[in-house]
């Protein structure tokens, strides 16, 4: 599965468009991690636990999008976009969407 965030796949031609595919995941923060993050808020700096958590969630959203693309028989997804929204305090939704295509 080839993913790009431009309209085309470099070096290949699109032969068929199969429509929009998307994947999402909603994650809540871990209470323990939240406590550590609260401490880190005093001294500043990178919150590694959160970076990892969000990266993992985003990978999962992407994976779901890929599964959906596989189901419709695509071999690439173009114009991939990511978006993040906070659903409630302590939970975030990560969303990935794109156009499923067949390339040659």
């Amino acid at each position: 599965m080839i993913l790009t965030n431009i309209e085309t796949v470099p070096g290949k031609t699109i032969v068929k468009h199969l429509g929009l595919v998307n994947g999402n995941t909603v994650r809540a923060k871990h209470a323990g991690k939240d406590l550590l993050a609260g401490l880190k808020n005093i001294v500043g700096g990178e919150l590694k636990a959160y970076t990892e958590l969000l990266q993992e969630s985003r990978d999962e959203a992407t994976q779901r999008m890929i599964e959906q693309a596989n189901a419709v028989g695509a071999n690439a997804v173009v114009n991939v976009r990511y978006s993040t929204s906070s659903v409630s305090a302590g939970a975030a939704e990560l969303f990935a969407y794109g156009t499923a295509v067949v390339v040659e």
Partner: protein, 150 residues
């Protein structure tokens, strides 16, 4: 009285560690930016015609960065008078540059020599925790890495 002591200690801790961490971070950012100077990033979505066979792949990099207690206090004061909030400016600059660097590192590992259509996404997380407005920011950078097949 006791509250004031705790508050001042937190401010001092935030100032000391925060400034040190920021300087260290900027040093490492500058160093790695120099290293990855040859890998170019474009926000342009149209890739010029290539003479050699190419391959594209999505690359991304993200970072969650938190503000320190001292800066949060300063930003709070700034809110009263208005104007530039430099405390947050440097926080966001660090986060953006770090996210782009991580994306570039991923692209380099794939053997790419440029990244196209770079997009940056910023999200405020830990909103609503206690009464702070912006405790930490997440920045994500993503783009299409162009790999030349030789």
């Amino acid at each position: 009285m006791y509250d004031l002591i705790v508050f001042l200690t937190l401010i001092a801790l935030g100032y000391g560690f925060g400034q040190h961490a920021e300087r260290k971070h900027f040093r490492s950012i500058l160093e790695r930016e120099k290293e990855l100077k040859t890998l170019l990033c474009f926000s342009e979505r149209r890739i010029p015609e290539q003479e050699v066979p190419v391959q594209g792949q999505l690359v991304s990099g993200s970072v969650v960065i938190s503000i320190d207690y001292f800066k949060q206090f300063v930003a709070g004061l700034r809110n009263l008078f208005g104007g530039r909030v430099t405390a947050y400016e440097s926080l966001l600059e660090r986060a953006r540059r770090e996210a782009i660097l991580r994306m570039k590192e991923q692209a380099r590992d794939l053997g790419a020599d440029s990244v196209w259509n770079v997009r940056l996404e910023t999200a405020a997380i830990s909103q609503g925790a206690q009464r702070q407005q912006v405790g930490s920011m997440e920045v994500m950078a993503y783009g299409t890495a162009l790999i030349r097949k030789t």
